[in-house]
């Protein structure tokens, strides 16, 4: 029934985190790893590719918000272990940036809780990304798609048992 939340500059080892959840003998473990993308590749052709990504956060508040998000996931799904690791500082494309891992008796809870944790982390936890590309720095804007992904959980909560679309 452990929760592990860490914000750190250091990289993390997926196998170590997986093994830590495995000792509780769950029926399922879902792990999600986010990697630094070359953002600019998705957008305007001809824009410089990303050299580095710098992550800023609000020490103390970030950990508190992540704990609240994990509590909310635990209220919704019967999960066993939850691990949330998020890196800060300067990272390069391809680097690991975030890990969410959830163990549960069955896969469905683990899949859904992992997805929920990522959606809420992206829209609620106090992290900010700055891109350095071709010698220019710019802060990343929140994507509408991330907002939409998070709001689907609010709709399902408000929907109740009748399954009505809101």
């Amino acid at each position: 029934m452990d929760t592990l939340i860490r914000v750190q500059e250091a990289d993390f080892d997926l196998q170590t985190e997986y093994d830590r959840l495995r000792v509780d003998n769950p029926g399922a473990i879902v792990t999600f790893t986010g990697l630094v993308r070359d953002f600019n590749r998705d957008h305007v052709a001809g824009s410089a590719s990303v050299d580095t990504l710098t992550l800023q956060h609000y020490p103390g508040m970030t950990e508190k918000l992540l704990a609240e998000i994990v509590d909310e996931a635990r209220e919704r799904w019967s999960v066993i272990g939850v691990t949330v690791l998020h890196r800060v500082g300067t990272l390069a494309p391809g680097d690991q940036i975030v890990l969410v891992a959830v163990s549960a008796a069955h896969r469905q809870e683990a899949f859904e809780a992992t997805s929920f944790l990522m959606d809420y982390l992206k829209t609620r936890a106090t992290f900010w990304k700055k891109v350095n590309a071709g010698g220019e720095e710019s802060w990343v804007d929140m994507h509408q798609a991330d907002r939409a992904a998070a709001s689907r959980w609010e709709a399902s909560e408000a929907g109740g048992d009748d399954g009505a679309d809101i």
Binding site: Y58, K64, H86, K122, R124
Partner: protein, 83 residues
């Protein structure tokens, strides 16, 4: 004296991530504080008044009519982009 923190692009616009501010007595709410800080320049005023900017006092999110105390830590937070 209060401690004011500016995160993300707000730090660049404010010219610092942290400021110590002594506030006049009539500045009571975090919205009052936002307007006071905005007197430093149009760019900061505009950025702090963006509808998606949130505010935290002592690391708790609060509404704009929240009344802060002396020695509080007030943080202005643009939309988050982690993950």
């Amino acid at each position: 004296m209060i401690k004011v923190l500016f995160f993300g692009r707000l730090g660049d616009i404010a010219g610092a991530e942290e400021r110590k501010v002594s506030v006049p007595e009539q500045v009571r709410t975090v919205d009052d504080l936002r307007q006071l800080l905005g007197e430093d320049g149009e760019a900061l005023a505009k950025a702090l008044n963006e509808p998606q900017v949130m505010v935290a006092v002592n690391q708790d999110l609060v509404e704009w009519d929240h009344v802060f105390e002396d020695e509080d830590e007030v943080a202005f937070l643009p939309p988050v982009t982690g993950g």
